[in-house]
Symmetry: C2
């Protein structure tokens, strides 16, 4: 594999971007960032649409490819840089880990994205928007907690003894939950996973706080000032 | 692989169920169905929640496992029954096909699911609900059309010369678009794929019309009357 430049187009607070940053850090892949300001609407401009017709982040440029959709990117990294693995070996266990990731990526996250919440606010006001978002996250995490009641849960990460694909998706969702005031301390398995991931440097290295453009972030790997 | 019973808990009109039925048919896997009436709310009952804590369909019982989340199920089928393949061999091409599938599964479908639409209707009425759904599908398909502008699109299926993972996800979304009066005839690549899939028996065998409980469906494989 040529050691060519790896470039991540992301937004510091975007959950999908955070997922990819965690995976890159877990696999020890050096990268540069090209921040896309979602609040300023840069993702809707022609320049970003040329990178990603969906007008979303992240976009990862790697190996001469331009990849979109965070879970497809994680699978690509797993296939091309298999160590350390993000998925277990057993097909049934892989299906369970993918289902955990998709339970967030396909059920919680899309219903709480910026565009959907803005539309709810236009229809019914800001209180309705906040309630929509809180209910969606709380219901989704409650279901996720039940999904962790599985033989693969060893009381540490979402599956087994090492962080993997599901943890890459859960931790950004928990960051998002905290931002919106949705508690998850009453969910014991999720709380265990959150604490386990706090001990893994890759999760801290990928954290949005490291990339907050309002902070001094000199010295962060690949960060553009 | 033991030829044990394969049981699909699904709902005839559910897009996610339709995806799995297509994949099972493409791979020639015989199965029985256990219909879950989403309109009657059966998915929220304790019996179904015991099968799937998310209260969703499909659930696939196979190889002694109980699998949820349609894309995780498709990946499992691909890993355990690789022929015919749903994904290309090349990692970059696989990432593109997965991104196409996720562009629908993570962006269009969740924002138009029954629970979300019911919530929109409670907030803002039935006209707002219909407009929400039409806009969401139309915008999502327009982005998908642009994503098909890719070297992997050979003017037949979403990628290459055989139906695969992205087609399993697109065709149910097009069925859904048609139900809600969202046209896609002006999107040339999507229209080409729709016509190509019409020529593949697996798509017809998996179609919701075959499983409409209001119709006489005797003789359909595994169908419970």
């Amino acid at each position: 594999m040529a050691a060519a430049r790896v470039l991540l187009h992301d937004y510091w607070r975007s959950s999908a971007s955070f997922r990819v940053r965690i995976a890159l850090a877990l696999k020890g892949i050096a990268y540069e960032r090209a921040p896309v300001d979602l609040v300023a609407g840069v993702q809707h401009g022609a320049a970003h649409r040329a990178l990603n017709p969906q007008g979303l982040v992240p976009v990862l440029e790697i190996d001469g490819l331009r990849l979109t959709q965070s879970l497809a990117i994680l699978e690509y990294l797993e296939e091309t840089r298999p160590e350390p693995p993000l998925l277990p070996r057993d097909a049934g266990a892989r299906a369970h880990v993918r289902a955990l990731a998709l339970a967030i990526a396909c059920e919680i996250h899309p219903v709480s994205n910026l565009a959907v919440l803005a539309r709810v606010e236009r229809l019914a006001g800001s209180e309705a928007r906040a309630a929509w978002n809180r209910d969606n996250i709380a219901e989704g995490l409650a279901a996720f907690e039940q999904m962790l009641d599985h033989p693969g849960f060893a009381g540490r990460f979402c599956h087994g003894e090492q962080p993997g694909l599901a943890d890459c998706v859960l931790i950004p969702q928990l960051y998002n939950a905290a931002r919106w005031g949705v508690a998850f301390g009453h969910l014991p398995r999720i709380s265990v996973v959150a604490r386990a991931c706090e001990t893994v440097p890759a999760f801290a290295e990928a954290h949005p706080d490291k990339f907050d453009p309002s902070r001094e972030t000199k010295g962060i790997q690949g960060e553009k000032p």
